[in-house]
Symmetry: C2
Subunit: 211 residues, 2 copies
DNA sequence: CTTAATTCGATATTTAATTATCGACTTTAT
DNA sequence: ATAAAGTCGATAATTAAATATCGAATTAAG
């Protein structure tokens, strides 16, 4: 059964998780949609509707929901319990940061290998092995890896993407500032920091003009 | 004059830029909304409406717009021509990657200094000086820096945020997976990779269930 | 010169997302 | 007990975003 949820709601769920974890550390056992909404400065109605979509049990009037159950529900919905394996291509500055980032583990993603063009020998970063990109197709096929993370220079990104898809990867998470062309069924997510900066700069500009 | 644009449109503008730059390298002088739309696999109407909001001159029927003029218009709108200075606090794996990232320059942002708790001596990363976080308030105040980038561990993020705001920073770009509480007028942007992963995982899950 | 193919921009229309309203139900305090 | 405050969930209303439609304009092809 596929539960339908809008991408907007989906993106809010990890944010709720952050708030809920804070509540847990504060020793709160119950929380309501309005508590979360206050903490995030968004509308309580929106939170309530989002939670209704993913919660397994009902909320209690004048009390809200159990914090730990809610965390479990969101994590289950987001698939944090079933680990997806990923590989990363391009072990430069950003690639290294991502490989050594412990947070992904909480999100149900495990980077099991890295590949780089400038590598002859195998070495490891935080126990993650790094291989030459030449052996990538073989290894990725054998391990049936589903997610490919691209952190190579932009002029290499499309070629790397094609190789990953050839090797059977189903989803691409691309950090290079280029648009990747992929067949219809392939999932691509472009992580573009310029988007964030666009939002920040625009708000700054507006604030500057207000005064 | 404050041109109103939705956040959704705003986030698409840097993506158009990526396509347009590709067109330029291909030697195309003109392009239409549908060309961009095709390249990005989104609706041409949406592109046309977005462009209408920021273009300075009108499009030509059966020809579209001048690619280079369009690039200029988007860049101007996004403020890529006027450089905003930023500082980064937390010079670990991610901090180093961001400091050495050359892309920000194109986006009108310059990271002029970094600060870390584990630093006694001044050193540099790609010519960007890194100081002890102790001198941060002083330096940031003196330089009137507007943007603060936070790449410290999550339990330090709120404290660092408060220090940055005390030092007069107007906007915070936070990479730590915590929610930052700030006064009303302050601009905060949370960069949460879990959001992206939520979208990717959800699509993967749906695709898995289809078969 | 005429026709066909594109494209724009303006104005609907449709769809999606957010916000509001309200009755019912618990808990807590008086 | 009773009243008051807080919450949920369902439904309705509003707002925002995306998509569709259409006439006018321009180019390129025949
Ligand atoms: N550094 C950042 O903070 C940052 C931020 C946003 C986006 N990006 C983008 O991420 C990408 C990587 O950035 P970076 O700063 O890590 O650059 P980098 O130069 O440090 O790393 C790139 C790595 O890719 C490797 N490489 C090159 N071609 C390859 C290929 N065909 N196959 C496998 N490996 C290959 C290089 O050997 C190098 O190690 C770039 O596209 C950049 O624009 C970086
Ligand atoms: N590495 C990634 O790819 C990644 C991805 C997403 C989010 N993040 C988040 O970004 C943050 C940094 O990640 P990282 O991998 O670079 O960690 P890291 O441990 O490599 O770096 C953290 C740095 O912050 C410094 N620091 C600690 N407390 C400080 C303080 N009070 N003031 C100034 N500096 C201080 C440390 O000395 C260290 O150099 C974390 O919150 C992490 O969750 C990292």
């Amino acid at each position: 059964m596929i539960k339908e949820i809008s991408e907007q709601s989906l993106r809010r769920l990890p944010q709720y998780l952050i708030i809920l974890q804070k509540f847990l550390t504060e020793g709160r056992l119950y929380c309501s949609a309005s508590h979360i909404a206050d903490a995030m400065q968004i509308s309580a109605i929106q939170v309530r509707k989002d939670l209704a979509k993913i919660a397994t049990d009902e909320g209690v009037p004048n009390q809200g929901r159990k914090v730990n159950q809610l965390i479990r529900d969101i994590e289950t919905f987001l698939g944090y319990n079933t680990v997806s394996e990923a590989v990363i291509v391009g072990v430069g500055m950003l690639g290294r940061a991502l490989i050594s980032y412990k947070g992904f583990h909480d999100y149900g993603v495990k980077i099991i290998m890295g590949f780089d063009a400038a590598t002859q020998d195998i070495f490891t970063i935080n126990k993650t092995p790094i291989y030459s990109v030449k052996v990538m197709p073989n290894l990725v096929k054998r391990m049936r890896v589903k997610i490919g993370i691209i952190t190579v220079p932009k002029d290499q990104a499309q070629a790397v993407c094609n190789q990953l898809l050839d090797a059977g990867v189903q989803a691409i998470w691309n950090f290079a500032p280029v648009h990747l062309d992929v067949p219809e069924h392939v999932i691509v997510h472009h992580e573009n920091m310029a988007e964030s900066l666009a939002v920040i700069s625009n708000k700054l500009k507006k604030q500057g003009e207000k005064s």
